[in-house]
Amino acid sequence: MKTEKELEEIFEKKLANNEFIEPKDWMPEKYRRHLIRQISQHAHSEIVGMLPEGNWITRAPSLRAKLVLLAKVQDEGGHGLYLYSAAETLGISRDEMIEALHTGKAKYSSIFNYPTLTWADIGAIGWLVDGAAIMNQVMLQRTSYGPYSRAMIRICKEESFHQRQGYEIMMRLALGTPEQKQMAQDALNRWWYPTLMMFGPPDDQSPNTADAVKWRIKRETNDQLRQKFVNQTVPQAEFIGLKIPDPNLKWNEAKQGYDFTPPDWNEFWRVINGDGPCNKERLAARIKAHEEGKWVREAAAAYAQKHEEVLAS
């Protein structure tokens, strides 16, 4: 038997060599707990993220738009399932994770606590929210935990259509009537800062960043990703004649990136801690769906059991 210290050395060496950690490998308890928290919250975000967009499926402006939105929302559900499965390999059950979400113990991305008021919001979500998520997830493809990495690779492959369909919606509105363009601009105005918050608090206020980087769970910090996102998105807005709602936004030649106004972090903490525009509604919708599905789970379990008995007799 190896001592704890020897096991830890093997673990550290694997990380240093950019090798993956797999479910049966020894890992420090803190690493396991960090991953369970991060992956389960990522899964919850996918599932809760279905709600703001699901809100527009019945009101999509064309059959094409409806088909696309349905496919996208179904993808988000699938992505939640990949992630729950990855988290389960760390020794937590699906039930425990759902329970943690429903009791408010586990968080999900604060972005989904904002309402989708117009059709342009569906465009803004695809373009900005999925764009930010992809940036984070591209990095996570190289995360040190094998099952998480594999889930991310699958998700990234599927998700680039999400951002493109969102940008297409924005482009159509921005090039449409003045009212349509105004609708697109209004959506950008409301979603810009919540999107910037998606990367998490600034590095010096992020309690988990140091560990995540040390363990190669994350390869880039919140602030690095946020900067990258701004640099990438500004020209996309300019191309369709929309204006980023930040008077201080300015190209900085020296750093080869934009200077920009950071989001209001007080608002971020407020929303994370339950006081956003839609927190109660989102959680209530999740709990309702879970409770209303209870009889289905029970019926399926009873059917499976009966079927097994018949086969055995």
């Binding site: 020894w26 990949y82 990855a86 389960e88 425990e96 059917y303 499976a304 097994e308």
Partner: protein
Amino acid sequence: MINTKDSQGMLWEVFLQKKSGQPFIHAGSIHAFDKEMALQNARDTYTRRGEATVIWVVPSHTIVSSTPEDVGPFFDPANDKIYRHPTFYNIPDAIKNM
């Protein structure tokens, strides 16, 4: 593969074959209450873009795995047998098709 049972049904591992002739590759896992539901859930979760023509689902608890701690002794018998590889043998350059 640790918690195989909760109110969400059993855990199953999903393997996909993209086309006939190709190997089955592990895609991930799903929850389901029985075989039929396992296949349907695997299809909905892992093959939304033509990733498979055949799906295998296997109850996770039936999978037997070697353990990472045993990696040395378990695979040791094969490690020092370099004569199992073609490059171990010196054949003159003049010899073709070998």
